[in-house]
């Protein structure tokens, strides 16, 4: 059982780190704001979600698991909102790329 949990953590956190690295590369390499946002939201949503999942497998209590889940949920909401606002500002053309 412990082995399964440990492997879940290793796989999930590694996959999460992959999304963060990929998102960062995208942020640096993509040509305009909308594609950069696309890269960034993958890091925020999937990357953090997978890291949180990996940490949940190591959590000592249900409360900690729930807290990690809530942290991820809050980042999802704020990340989605911020991305929408930046994209809208970009389309209106009142910010520089």
């Amino acid at each position: 059982m412990n082995d399964i949990l440990a492997w879940t953590s290793i796989v999930a956190v590694t996959a999460g780190v992959f999304f963060f690295v990929a998102g960062t590369v995208g942020l640096l390499r993509f040509p305009d704001a909308v594609t950069r946002l696309h890269a960034l939201t993958k890091a925020d949503n999937l990357g953090l979600g997978l890291v949180a999942l990996g940490l949940m497998a190591q959590a000592r209590s249900a409360t900690v698991m729930l807290e990690l889940l809530v942290v991820w949920g809050l980042v999802l909401v704020s990340g989605a909102t911020a991305a929408q606002l930046i994209a809208r500002g970009q389309r209106r053309g009142d910010t520089q790329p």
């Binding site: 809050l74 909401v77 704020s78 989605a80 909102t81 929408q84 606002l85």
Partner: protein, 317 residues
């Protein structure tokens, strides 16, 4: 293995803080500098976490990164019109030489001060823990802030109210007493209005929890008040409510209430316990709770209105 990993992490955070600090200073674009400053605040939070200073980390994240970051971004937005002219200006050679000399002298003095610090650093931690029973609170940070060094906290809270008065005094005469900041209009069915509807209930619970848990665990009124102020600002920015006119009586009362209650309890300490801000024996905990309860709304209102800025629109009667 874990120690080595920790060292690598610490080194990484230290390098990150230095790079972001330099970036915030040398960035030519004011917006880029402000973003660098916010990231700098967040890396400081990580550093405090690594040092096990959870209370300081929370404060740094809430006030250093969040609130000061928002203030800086708004300042940049206000300065945008004059930014090109300001960055095109080239200071004269003597001005630059003086600037280099002053900055060099300050840096040199700071280096001397850091090197002159005794090692190990003097600590009052054991004295704090020896008397913590008499304060009735379990978190030594809260004991320091509201019992041993209550004077500092009183001055901090008071200075915030004065800062707010300073911001308000920037208002032109014809809009004095009006609504601070511009009236925000967002799509009522848009994503911002949606976030402003679902986040505040969670934020208010978290803010109140952070405030209440401060007696025995990391947390406290400053961090809690910042979270609640942020929720209010979110609702304002989504255009769901407007900022209150600064001439409203309740705004004035709430802004002044916290420090006034604090001072009243402090003065009551003179006859009952023999000194200003001393608590009579056995009443420390309830008095601390009253002070915190009084300061909480003041801090939330003052922090939010500081970000909202000077009055810009006349209040409708």
């Amino acid at each position: 293995m874990t120690d080595a990993l920790n060292e690598v992490l610490n080194l990484g955070i230290a390098v990150l803080i230095l790079v972001l600090g330099v970036w915030a200073v040398v960035a030519r674009d004011a917006f880029a500098a402000a973003v660098g400053f916010i990231a700098f605040g967040l890396s400081l939070t990580l550093a405090w976490l690594q040092l096990r200073g959870i209370d300081v980390a929370l404060t740094e994240a809430a006030i250093g990164g969040g609130l000061t970051g928002a203030l800086t971004i708004f300042a940049v937005a206000r300065l945008r019109a004059t930014e090109a002219a300001a960055s095109a200006e080239r200071p004269s050679v003597p001005t630059r030489i003086i600037a280099v000399l002053v900055a060099g002298a300050v840096t040199f003095t700071l280096i001397l001060c850091v090197l002159a610090l005794p090692n190990p650093a003097p600590s009052l931690a054991s004295a704090v823990m020896a008397h913590i029973e008499s304060t009735g609170v379990g978190n030594p940070i809260t004991a320091v802030l509201l019992a041993y060094r209550a004077m500092d906290t009183l001055l901090e809270a008071t200075v915030l109210v004065f800062a707010l008065i300073g911001v308000w005094s920037l208002a032109p005469d014809d809009v004095w007493g009006g609504h601070p900041g511009i009236r925000q209009h967002a799509d009522p069915n848009g994503i911002l209005a949606y976030a402003a509807r679902i986040l505040p209930p969670i934020g208010i619970v978290v803010g109140t929890y952070v405030f209440w848990v401060g007696a025995d665990h990391p947390g406290g009124k400053f961090q809690g008040a910042t979270i609640i102020a942020a929720m209010w600002l979110l609702v304002v920015m989504a255009g769901l409510v407007d900022t209150p006119p600064v001439s409203r009586r309740w705004v004035r009362i709430v802004a002044a209430a916290g420090p006034l209650v604090f001072i009243a309890i402090g003065l009551a300490g003179v006859p009952t316990a023999g000194a200003f801000l001393a608590y009579p024996h056995g009443y420390a905990k309830p008095l601390i709770v009253i002070i915190e309860l009084a300061l909480m709304p003041t801090l939330a209102l003052v922090l939010a209105l500081l970000v909202a800025g000077a009055p810009t629109r006349i209040a409708k009667r």
